[in-house]
Structures are given as C-alpha cells and as structure tokens.
Amino acid sequence: MNWRVLITLLGKELLETVRDRRTLFMMIGLPVLLYPSVLLVGTQVAVLRQERVEKGVSRVHLETASLLDLPLIRPWLEATGKIVVVYSADPQRDLREGKIDLIATVKAPVSETFFAGNPLPVELLYDVTEQRSLEALDRMDKLLKDVAEREQRRRLEERGIDPAEVMPLMISRVDLAGNVKVAGAILGALLPALLIIITALGAFYPAVDLTAGEKERGTLETLLSTPVTRSELVTGKFLAVFCLALVTALVNLLAQLGTMYVFFGQISDTLPGAFTALLRNPFPLLLVIGIIMIPMALLLSSLMMAVCMFARGFREAQTYLTPVMLLIAAPALIAGMPGIRLTPFWTFVPVVNAVLAFKEAMLGGVSAQALFSVFVSTLASALFTIACAVWLFHREEVTLADEPMLPLSLRRKDYPPRDFLTPSHALGIFGLIMALIFYAGSLLQARWPLPGLFVTEWLLVLMPSLLILWLVRADFRSVLGLRRCPPSGFAAGALLGAGTFLITAAFGPIQERFLPIPEALQEAFNRFFETDNTTAARLWLFLVAALSPAICEEVLFRGILLRGFVRRLHPGVAVLAVSVLFGLFHLSIFRFMPTAVLGIPLAYMCLRTGSLFPSVLAHALVNSIALSLSMGLVPDMITYWLFPAGPDVARVSAGALALGVGLLLPGIAILERRFGGAGH
C-alpha cells in the first residue's frame, strides 16, 4: 500500500465530489436548510396550537342549567372565563363536528341529590381525537372535583367528623427523572437513529458515484490500466466515501445543534430547561458520538461501496442501495424506542449497538466497557465489509462487467430476447410485487380472508411476475428453471420439506422466548383458516393455502429471484438472500424466522436439481402438513406424539425432532449423490 498513491486517489475523489452539485447539495445544502425548516416550523406550529388550546375558551353545552346552581361553579366561570356555556340543538352532532367541546349532563334533579345529601351522577361527553375537547374535559373535571371535595368536607364537618379521619391514603407524586433525563429520553429516541441514517445517506451518493458512477462514465477502466493495485484503488475510494460520510454526519450534527440553540432561545419559557440543560454541556455526548460514529461511518461506507460494486450504473446502484438503507434504518429506529437497553447481546449487533450506546449516553452515561465493546464490534464488522469490498474489486466480472442494462420501456419490442435475469431485474420484480401485496393484497385479505389470499397469490404474485417476464422477452424455461426432474429429485424435495418443517417447529420455543407471538395475532391467524367441516370447504382451503402459495411463491422466489441472484452471487449467498426475502415477504416479524428458514432447503433443492418442480412439491407438502395438523385431520395419536402440548403450541417432542433430522439427512444425501456433480 503506497501512501502517495492513496492520497492522490483520495484527493481526486474529493475534488470530483466537490465539483458535483448534486452530491454537495445532499451533503451540506439539505441539512443546513432542512433542520431549521422542519424543526422550527414544525414545532412552532405545534406550540402555537398548544397555546391556542390552553388559552382558548372551552365551549360547554349543559343539558340542564341546574349544574350552574352548584356552589363554586358560577363564580369560577365568571372569574376565569375559560368555560362558556353554549346552547346547542343537537349537542352530540355539534360535538363531533367540533362546534362545541363538551357536553355535561346531570342525571338526576340537583335538589333531590346534591342538596339532599346524596350523590349526583354527572356525565361528561367528549371527543378524544380533539385537543380542545380534551382540554375542556380536563377543566370541567377539575372544577367538578373541587366542588365535590368542598361538599364532602362540608358534609363531614356537619356530622362532626374530621376529614383527615376518612382519608385512608394520602398520595403525592414526585418525578425524579430530572430535566436531563427527560430531555435525553425524548431526544434519545430519535437523534441516534437519525444520526446513523444521515451518515448512511451521506455515504449513499459518494458510494454510488465513486463505484457504479465511475463504471457508468467509463472512467474505471482508465484507472484499472494504471499501476495502482486493486487494493489501493478500493482503499482510496473507500477513504473518500468515509470522509464524505463523516463530513455529512458532522454537518448534520452541527445543523441539528444549531437549530436547537436557536429554537430553545426563542421559546425557552414555553418548554422546560430540559433540552437546554443537555445542550449547555454537549461535550460528553459529542465525545461518545465521536467514538461511535467513526467505526460506524467506516462500516456504512464499506457496506454501501461493496453493494454498489455489483451495479453497472447509477440507477442500478440506487436500486441495490435502497433495501440496504432500509436494513440500516429499521433496526436504528427500533433500537431508538424506549425500553430497549444495551445488553451484552445487543453490543454485538451492528447499528443497533451504536444506537443503544448513544441512547444510554444521552440518558446519563454509558460505561467505558460497553462503549469499548461497541467500538470494537463495529470496527470488526467494518473491517469485514472492507475485506469483502477489496475482494470484490479483485474480481474482473465485477469491475469489468459490461452487460447492457435493461431499457425502461413498456414496449415489448424494445427488449432483446434473453434467457437470464440479473439480480437487479429480479429485485425490481420483487419490489413491484411487494408493493402490490402491501397495498392491495393485505386489504383484500382483511376483507375476504380466503378468497383474498387466493387472489393475492394468483393475480398479485404469479400474474405480474409472468407478465414482466413476457414483456422483457425472457425465456420462461431458463429464467424459472422449468426443467424436467427425475423422481429422485421430487423424493429428496419431499424429504427435505417434511424434515425442515419438523425442525423449524423445534425452534418454536426459542422464538417464544425472544419474540412471543401476541395472542390476538395468533387467534386472528387461526381464525383466518377456520372452515366448515365439509369436504368441499376443506379442499378449497387446501387449494388456497397449500397449493396456490406453492406454485405462485416458488415461481417468484426459487424461480425469478434465485436464478437471477445466482448469476452474480456465490450460490450460498444467493440461497440466503432469497430466503431472507422470502421471510420478509410474509410481512410479519413473527413469521420471519420460520419462513426464512424454510426458504433455505427450498432454494437448495432448486439449485441442486436445476429444476423448480421439487420445491413446488416440497412447499405444497409443508403447507399441507401444517394445515392438516391445525384442522385436526391428522389422528390425535400422531399429532400429540409430535406436539405434546397440542398443534397450536409449537413445541415438538424429541422423537419428532429426531424424525425431522431423519428425513432431512437422506434428502440431502440424495441431492448430493444424484445431483451433486451437475455443476449447479
């Protein structure tokens, strides 16, 4: 590694970036403009609204005017003017429409209750969605409680009882959280995640520009022709992305801090000194940010660069990076939520650990030991991704690839016939189908469970996939792997499917510990598959929930995605990536693990046999077994031998686990022995 060369490379990359207005704007222009506008305008509007509610007059409709006869009420209304009594012909409608804020109803004559020494039932009708209505409720409630307390005291004294004697409890509340901790909790939820997301965004454009951008502009080959080694090249580029990501993070941090200073200066009397206390001495916090952000920026830059290297152009790189951004943002935001603490386990999960350490620091301190662990583990994962990036750069098919990109066109004749898809094509199709399912499929299934699922599988998963393949003139046989498969392939598929089903079920208790399925969700899931006990109804259920997913999902996942990924990625990586997407496809964090795990043998058998059909069989088989068990179609003896606690509780017996392994191993053996040498 030659330092002179590295500095030359770094200098050139930075000079180029500085001359690119788009990147420069994303890095510096956007944060400098964005925070003041969002924070100032947003919070000022909120404060104004709050103030208007607090200073505003509550309009209350009284069903009977007798409420005004109670003691205290008239003088209070006159003195404060915060509640005006209004008359409404249709009070409930007016309340819903926001014309009045509260309705107070007296359920019995005042003279017979309150003034006769009995309780007076009062009903307050309000609208929880209206800030003004809540404020009116609060005011009326306090006023009536004062009235009640005074009357209580009067009645007790009348009977010669000391009010203190009938008070069994005296409760007073003292908040010990303190200003700094309150501010930390609020900021801690958002700021760390925001900072990481912004650093990732800061790396985004340079990563795309310096790798895929150079490839697209054709300047990468010029660089490759020089005596610079591939490792120097990656390192130089990586240093540039890293610097730019750090600068972006710093500019953002300063913009955030600056905005807050201005902001709190303006309304310091409206909000407590909570935020300002933290801002007055932000240096310990900045130190923690510094210690964490440096390895974090290393990790994010190298990760993004490694991903971008697969792309041949700007647009393609952006397509690849979008899921990566989600992968970074989602855990960052979740870790930011209150209640999640930095346990030793989380210390080793990248992104999450940084957010948590940062949060702890804001909440009043993070231990040096924890900080060190986070630093080391982030650095380790950064070094790993850097190594991946260097390795990728040594591969000619990555640096010198010149397959043409697909034109973005809806005319079929614009596409040359093709017998393969690239990962980006496959991901594009996946994205489109996920959007369809999310917006249309989930609505359909909520309204008509089984028909909705049926329509989702055939019309939202299979049909668009095939339509796109037809549009881009892809050869269905080779893109999907529709090849004949000998019976031994199907047998192996069935063995693997059934075996994996039992083994994944064994993981149930583990999932139960870390991520218990909420009961309501489980019930809804069970209700989804409730059916009449007629043969026709059962057949319909099997068609919808076993056969349809097996056909439609296999075409998308083990067909389009797997065959597309395997063209660019190592087969093992392709299998894992497709399985993760398969898990995500089920749109439920609770079903992610079992479905993703099931995806692995399905993808594996497809690659080994070179055919899609065994995985269709295996998928149908697994779904059928699950359905039969939950519908009680399997004899109880077998069910309870497999699942001693019943089929709904995923807790398998040791025998069942052994059976699972016993099915899985011969399946693998057949695939390796019969198909291992096929070169897939």
Binding site: E16, R217, T219, E221, S225, P227, V228, R230
Partner: protein
C-alpha cells in the same frame, strides 16, 4: 518487448456454459514495432488487448514483458504500459491539466516532471487552449487527444491502443498516426486495434487477424495478402473471415 503465449480467456456464456472469448493466441511485438489487430465486432480484440495491458488475467497461457512473466507482478508491470480504449474515458468534472497531474502521480512521476510533460504533450496534441476547461465541456475529438496525451504521459515502452482513431476527424487521426510512427521510431512497441484496415496497412509492420477469439492469420500485411491471394488487406480480411465462418458451419453471427 511483448510476448503473449497461447492466451485464452473464458467467460460464462448466455446459456450458462463456457464461452471462449480468446483462445490460443500467440503473438510477439518487438521494440519499435507497430502491431495491428483487425477483426470483426465481437471477435475478442478488446479482451485480448485488456489481457495484454495486464488489466485482465488470462485463463490460459502467459504474457511476458521484457522477459518478465506478467502473472507474478501485474500491478508493477503496468508501469511499462500505456493503455487507451473506447472504455477508458476521462473524468468529466476535472480539467485535462488535473487529469494529467492525477495520472502522472499514479505513475509515480514528480510534479515537475508532470508539468514538463504536460507542456510538451499539450504542444504536440494541441491541448493548450483547453487545458483548464472541464472535460465535460470538450468535444469527442478533444477528449480523444487528451486520452492519447494521458497514455503517453509517462513515456511507456509499450503502447496498447484499442480503436484509438474512433471519433477523430481526418486531421486529428493523421496527428495520431504521426505520433504512433514517432513513438515507434523512438523504440516504443505499439499494439493497436483498428477498424480502418487501410490505416492499419500503412501504419503497422505486422498484422494479426482475429476471428471468434482465434488468430486466423498473422504476419506482414503483404504476406497475409499473398496467402489469401487478395490484392489488398481489406479483401484478404473479408475473405479470411468468411472462410472460417464457412468452416465453422456457415453461421456468421
């Protein structure tokens, strides 16, 4: 200077099977010699030149520069090579002066050396008027001239030029040919590929005809013409390429 022995390069084909872009290509270029590669589109010229420029590792065979095996230390040996092709473009956001400075440094030259060479090459290729303009404002011809200056900057003993005359007008191509002749006179070995067969005939001492990844003819232009019993290289080219196409089953794609 350059020896390429039984070079071969295999890619994954469209159907997934192996596809040999270059196979069993053996050629050598002496100091001061200009070697021209001709062949139809997709014949494997670019792949062959990329291997010769040590940017791509051959899957078969070996390359020797001045007797040194390239596979041992390709990065260091790229010092001796200047490579330009249609795919080696220039940074649009930098100026020619900055580009020459950048590449000069990568070749380990000192700032003073780079400035001296920039002035010399600027004179030779007429770059002086746009040395400080951003490259994305320059015309194709101007860019091509900057590219050639970049290749010549560190005065390498071997020039590898893939279609160097693409996009050049008559005058600029003539200046380029002049530059190549002068380089050869100074002892520089040159390997180039070109579609203009007539230019190759006048410029190159020896010519290799590549078709479907294989060298189907090699030698002095007049030898190739004689062997193919053709009046000129152009006719010989057409004849040889269609001959092998027939031999391969008459499919010419």
């Amino acid at each position: 200077m350059l020896e390429a022995i039984a070079l071969g390069k295999v890619f994954r084909g469209r159907g997934g099977g192996p596809f040999w872009a270059v196979r069993e290509v053996t050629l050598s270029v002496r100091k001061g010699e200009v070697y021209g590669l001709i062949g139809p589109n997709g014949a494997g010229k670019t792949t062959l030149l990329r291997m010769i420029a040590l940017m791509m590792r051959p899957d078969e065979g070996e390359i020797r520069l001045d007797g040194q095996a390239a596979a041992d230390r390709p990065d260091a040996l790229r010092h001796k090579i200047g490579f330009a092709s249609g795919n080696t473009r220039l940074y649009g956001r930098l100026t020619p002066r900055e580009i020459l400075l950048f590449f000069g440094r990568l070749y380990g030259m000192s700032r003073a050396q780079i400035e001296r060479r920039t002035a010399e090459l600027g004179e030779t290729f007429g770059l002086l008027e746009f040395l400080d303009a951003r490259c994305d404002t320059l015309s194709t011809g101007q860019l091509q001239r900057v590219s050639i200056a970049r290749v010549a900057l560190h005065d390498p003993p071997l020039l590898v030029l893939d279609e160097p005359a693409n996009g050049l007008d008559v005058l600029t191509s003539e200046a380029l040919f002049q530059f190549i002749r002068q380089a050869a006179e100074r002892g520089v070995a040159v390997v180039l590929s070109m579609h203009q067969v007539s230019a190759v005939e006048s410029l190159c001492a020896r010519v290799g005809l590549i078709h479907r990844g294989r060298l189907v003819a090699q030698g002095r232009p007049e030898e190739i013409c004689r062997d193919a019993s053709a009046p000129d290289l152009r006719t010989a080219f057409i004849r040889l390429v269609s001959d092998t196409a027939d031999a391969a089953g008459g499919r010419f794609t």
